[in-house]
Symmetry: D3
Subunit: 159 residues, 6 copies
Amino acid sequence: MSKLTHLDSQGHAHMVDVGQKDDSQRQATAEAFVTMTPETLQLIIEGGHKKGDVFAVARIAGIQAAKKCSDLIPLCHPLMLTSIKVELQALPELNQVRIESTCKLRGQTGVEMEALTAVSVAALTLYDMCKAVDKGMVISQVRLLDKQGGKSGHWQANE
Amino acid sequence: MSKLTHLDSQGHAHMVDVGQKDDSQRQATAEAFVTMTPETLQLIIEGGHKKGDVFAVARIAGIQAAKKCSDLIPLCHPLMLTSIKVELQALPELNQVRIESTCKLRGQTGVEMEALTAVSVAALTLYDMCKAVDKGMVISQVRLLDKQGGKSGHWQANE
Amino acid sequence: MSKLTHLDSQGHAHMVDVGQKDDSQRQATAEAFVTMTPETLQLIIEGGHKKGDVFAVARIAGIQAAKKCSDLIPLCHPLMLTSIKVELQALPELNQVRIESTCKLRGQTGVEMEALTAVSVAALTLYDMCKAVDKGMVISQVRLLDKQGGKSGHWQANE
Amino acid sequence: MSKLTHLDSQGHAHMVDVGQKDDSQRQATAEAFVTMTPETLQLIIEGGHKKGDVFAVARIAGIQAAKKCSDLIPLCHPLMLTSIKVELQALPELNQVRIESTCKLRGQTGVEMEALTAVSVAALTLYDMCKAVDKGMVISQVRLLDKQGGKSGHWQANE
Amino acid sequence: MSKLTHLDSQGHAHMVDVGQKDDSQRQATAEAFVTMTPETLQLIIEGGHKKGDVFAVARIAGIQAAKKCSDLIPLCHPLMLTSIKVELQALPELNQVRIESTCKLRGQTGVEMEALTAVSVAALTLYDMCKAVDKGMVISQVRLLDKQGGKSGHWQANE
Amino acid sequence: MSKLTHLDSQGHAHMVDVGQKDDSQRQATAEAFVTMTPETLQLIIEGGHKKGDVFAVARIAGIQAAKKCSDLIPLCHPLMLTSIKVELQALPELNQVRIESTCKLRGQTGVEMEALTAVSVAALTLYDMCKAVDKGMVISQVRLLDKQGGKSGHWQANE
């Protein structure tokens, strides 16, 4: 079971020692989709055109969540992100909102979890703001798209 | 735009006033799926049979996250959950892990977001613990399954 | 020194025992002002008309801060706000932004600190978002306007 | 609207990318004033002479708040302060308490918000501890006094 | 293994369902001791007589920690303490400081963990403030002294 | 009173300035013991052999607590641990569980408090999970075992 680096040789959880890793410029991009009824998306878009508040709140929630990542994910290292971006885009033809986040850091460990946490919490916030009209909303395709920096180098999701 | 209750008549975000709502027994169940390679699932299962640590860590992370919900989701009310359960189940035939959480409360507001946050963070923790071997894992089908209590009564997801 | 209720008879800090107080409907309203250059206010207003993002971010920060009050103010009781509103208003003739927050609770202790914390953190957020163009911004007149509920009843600020 | 660095070209909030900035020694000093009745100040001073607890609690609250700055202010970068000082001084002739905080860091981004957050939360704590006797206390003149380090160099408040 | 209530019938951790328990007035008292060199205790006492800052800081840390209990202890319920007291006492003849905390709540679950967390963190804070002069300090005898309320009634430690 | 570095020349608490200290590789190890009845230990051991959940939960709680150290201990510096290990070991002949934690960092300040906080919170979690069967459990011998790095060099506890 040695391949799961968060477990030691006895299968016990620990926070992996990154102290000997070199600092490098790191970056990760993740995405998530929220599927809803056409009516719900329409409400968001109308609001979005006028005030932008639904997307603005979700964006802030995502940014804040990226900073809380090591508090949420037990074995994540605390780290000091140098950049967080969260973008939301309405896809009316698919009845979806797409969320993308890119996080950056110069440090000893990657920022994949921060980007994934940002899109997840932004998606949950979207759900929260619209659940009065649409409890059947579904969050899907939460995944890492791209990761750069560190010993393992550049990784990209398929297609 | 009055249907989105988290926005006031001007489209500004606020935390909805629930002060006049009656207390009622509330309960919500949510689910999420994490898809991975057969090899990754095998590593988790083998670990799971012996030590259970991967699932144990994800379960704790989900429980803790449910308690942090109002800190993560900007317009959620702080509340005092009386029960949180998070279960993880390996589905080898689907190369998936299924996560389900049920939260309960006696109070003035529902606990859907708490259950959804629990499964989301448990899924992210699973990703974190396995990302060294499988960065292509995907979290999907994060959704509310069932909700009871409150004025809107019993709601169930389709099928 | 018995009048300062947060200090016991020896002058030591403690969290006042409210266990014997009756629950009552409580409400508090606070305000704060941020003074800036006309150019800075103009930038906010222009942004505000189009996107509202500066005010949207400050509003969310204020709402979130009200929920964190007992974590920030050492002797505040943890409590479960039932409503939080934070409003921001540009006052071009005064080169100011006025911030007002109202918090509500049914409980054993007042919510003055929650409303004051909300306006303070919304004001700090405004400063943060504009400090690149105007480091001389000043936050002033942070005060309680109105407080209802509890044994001491209705209190209002002068004029 | 490009001058407000926390908004991108579309007016959306993001956490500014500081990854390419050089580390430098940074320092910021902020102040705040709390105005109260002579009787309230007298109570604090008497307590202060004997036990110092009111000021001690406010000082600790301010120090703790500086460390929470990136959690409170949505677009602030997480950072690792190397020094935090918070001082409180009774000004009997003005019926005020003056609060000053200096924060330091070696890093890629300034610490103005940390110092401003420290004095704000110390002031709120003072209000909290004295509100049983004086709800009309007012927090004012919360401002940056001095900032050193970074590309923009040394900045000082007027007069 | 059914006796450990935090584990379900499969040995998985969960947050016990207290939703059907009646509210009752609950109270718990815990203690801890910190043993140090006579010189260290003397430094604290001298400081204590003049300023009280070491004990004041530890007392605040303990109070704040009691409020964070459900965030620290994974299976603790979030709850709203109505009273927290933390007292520190120098015992020169034993080269010890004794810490005692009493927490109160009207609710569905006990407050033992809150009182134990308060004394533990107050003790750690004492260690932190004195470690420059005495790294060999030892925290011991952290235990529950008394617990009232709830179905199990009044419990007292031996002797 | 100058020897207590967390107090300035007036006896006021502050966060010591470490900005001029050199970065060095730092490491600290701490231990704690939890004494219980033979029956309680037996329940943990039986559970431990099958599922490991009690130790798994305590281990995660300790790891998470180490990351929260600067939030719990008022004058601790925020820092970015590069490694956290928490181990629990049943000592049936002594009716005890021994907990040991080692934390590492490359930075300007030591990690003693992080290791001590980790073992303390792991011990509290053990108490929480077993308190339904054994309220008389006692946490003792919480102490620093070993500390390396920094100007003061290598320190080891006696015997």
